[in-house]
Subunit: 419 residues, 2 copies
């Protein structure tokens, strides 16, 4: 326990101040990555770090790393951060909270004259959202070596602008090679983007990892025919087959603890009131923290699709389109978050992130974990996204406690080893 | 039995000749009602009737009636006909066959110097398809008094042109008041637009009537949320509810003999790979020859929707959008078709029309029935629509036999009454 208290009003003030940069009349933020507004909020962040006497390095993917020295320059920095870019119809908290809470932790330490053992670092990752340039988490992915700089630069938006040219244009291409800036651990505070904490009345989500995800394209093909003159026994109705699959995926997901399974996208052809659907296309989204369970779910879905196709005389085509492995966060980082929440007197719940985050790429390089705070109705990627001042403050306080707890333990361990 | 034989090659020649008027490269016809091509095919038909010495009257809805005198001018005419307009991607047989087979019957009688008791009449109804001006079967509807002339004239197409102005522009507004031309019976030969005759290897469908039809708009409303971070037990997935309804409607239709039930149109919102469907809209199409059964089906569907909504925590909205009562065709006309098929040595199957036809409006005014011939794969409203020369000829032969059979019986009956 640190006896240090973050300043809730100051944190909220920074959230509301930066929400004006790209702010929309409905209370949301439209601050697409590498836009002029993204550049403005980056300048704002640099100015805040300068005011704290921190040293900032920007890498060739535009990722920003500001460092505050610790007592022991031999220790690798402990990082906090997330992203300042938003969806086109984004809210005020997704990503932004993780960066500004990190800044608030550093301001609190600065004010108290507190010195950590390891250096502390604040990170703003480029293009987490992926809504302007696909894929999402591009900046942290380049940093982690998952994508090359050339691949990143070549990504284009809907208007044909490339990531590389846009980064150059707004002046945030740094000199540091991607991956040359490293840290010893990372803590990412984020809104849950789901309804669990709110539903269970818990204040802090202690995130254990990120679900593995498998996406499939499914096409079912029957025969388009007149709804009036085609008797039931002579039909090959692709939508009736798809209905079996929709219901079956829901049942499969419910039959595996912690699994989710969804068809979110569906397209009927010819989609006319009086024509039996001849073809239906859909996307299947399966997620679970354990790859072995995902394997079983995938088998069950394949059997379900074959059965629904056969029962309705349909052709079927099930094609994997995307696959990410589950990520387990670092046990010591998780322990630090748990200890931090306890120190702050806040209720917790262990959870798994259903969405991807920069922490996924960070976890491949360094010990990493995340801290979740509730968001109203589980809503995100929406101007109505809402997390209360006290909830943001609670998250920032846990971030502070967790980072200092981790710092203390690591320094003690080093001391023991040295002794 | 008449000993008269229609000329299959001549009928086929007329079908192929008129198929050039609005013909498309893929072998279909795009001859929208009241287009220049519609006018051209009308001129072609008038010339053929003139060549047979028939008298043509055109009414104010553009419906064409050509009469061939019989031996007994006191008897009302017996009509044959259908429509010459097509869908934008229509085939060569839907509607056209009924008019040209009637013409072929008249040519056959003319060649043989055969005189019927009652006058015979050939009819071409305006705008059966309803694809340019809604509703379908507009010309026969105005003729039957279901719609007023003003209502018909005011219908507009997608480009804002009105039915009335288009009718005037192509010069086919007739002087006869709608409904002033009447007949004593009508026989409409048509392709089945369904797969039954082909599947059962029967040559002639003896049509008993037309199904009643009820259409409903269905909206289910849940909560759009992240597919990854929203656990199964906290979801309100509108598509899972709709899947229950889709499967349930299929089951309800199969549980009632001769019923069909379909969802052909379905729209998911927001329809994104990683968002749980918050709202789904669909159209339900129920058909059966008996209104009492339709009442029961409607009740079962309402219960199904309520149950699916409740099981998934959804709001629901089930709104009737269209309703047509079943039509039973005239027993004497049906008997004449049966006798005609027997005389022609063709296999038959009693059937109910699943689609609407001009015969529905005609049946409200005069004894009416229809004759169906097979179409390949049940396909219609499609350039690939296909009925063989022999099948067209079989239908035309039955039309001839049925009309003459009906004529003979009616004349005999009159003679008995007079005696």
């Amino acid at each position: 326990m640190s006896n240090l208290k973050i300043d809730a009003a100051r944190l909220w003030g920074s959230l509301m101040e930066t929400a004006q940069i790209g702010g929309t009349p409905d209370g949301g933020i439209a601050r697409l990555t590498l836009s002029e507004d993204d550049s403005r909020v980056r300048h704002w962040l640099r100015a805040q770090c300068d005011a704290l006497g921190m040293t900032m390095v920007v890498d060739e993917a535009g990722n920003m790393f500001a460092t505050r020295p610790g007592r022991r320059p031999d220790l690798p920095p402990i990082a906090m951060g997330s992203h300042l870019d938003t969806q086109p119809t984004g809210g005020k908290f997704d990503g932004v909270l993780g960066v500004l809470a990190g800044l608030e932790v550093l301001r609190t330490l600065d004010e108290a004259g507190f010195q950590s053992e390891a250096p502390l670092m604040l990170v703003n990752w480029t293009n987490e959202e992926g809504s302007r340039f696909s894929p999402a988490m591009l900046g942290s992915g380049i940093w982690a070596g998952v994508y090359s700089r050339d691949y990143g630069d070549s990504r284009t938006d809907a208007g044909g602008d490339s990531f590389g040219a846009s980064l150059d244009r707004i002046g945030w291409r740094g000199e540091a090679e991607a991956g040359s800036v490293r840290f010893g651990a990372m803590f990412e505070l984020h809104i849950e983007q789901g309804p669990i904490l709110e539903a269970e009345g818990r204040q802090i989500g202690v995130v254990q990892g990120v679900q593995g995800m498998r996406w499939f394209d499914l096409g079912l093909t029957g025969t388009a025919a007149h709804t009036g003159s085609t008797p039931m026994n002579l039909r090959r109705n692709a939508l009736v087959g798809m209905a079996q699959v929709i219901g079956g995926i829901d049942r499969i997901a419910r039959s595996h603890k912690d699994a989710v399974g969804t068809i979110g996208f569906l397209e009927v052809s010819p989609n006319s009131h009086n024509v039996i659907p001849g073809e239906v296309r859909a996307t299947i989204d399966l997620r679970h923290p354990d790859d072995a369970v995902l394997d079983r779910m995938e088998q069950e879905v394949a059997a379900l699709v074959a059965e629904a196709a056969q029962a309705n005389g349909l052709g079927h085509r099930l094609v994997p389109i995307s696959r990410t492995a589950p990520v387990a966060f670092d046990p010591e980082c998780i322990a630090a978050v748990r200890a931090g929440a306890k120190a702050a007197g806040l209720s917790t719940r262990d959870m798994i992130s259903g969405a991807g985050h920069d922490a996924v790429h960070a976890a491949a390089v360094a010990p990493t974990t995340m801290i979740f705070v509730p968001c109203k109705g589980g809503l995100s990627h929406n101007p109505a996204e809402s997390t209360l001042l006290e909830e943001c403050a609670a998250g920032a306080q846990v971030l502070l406690e967790a980072v200092l707890d981790y710092d203390r333990r690591k320094a003690e361990r080093r001391a023991e080893v040295a002794a």
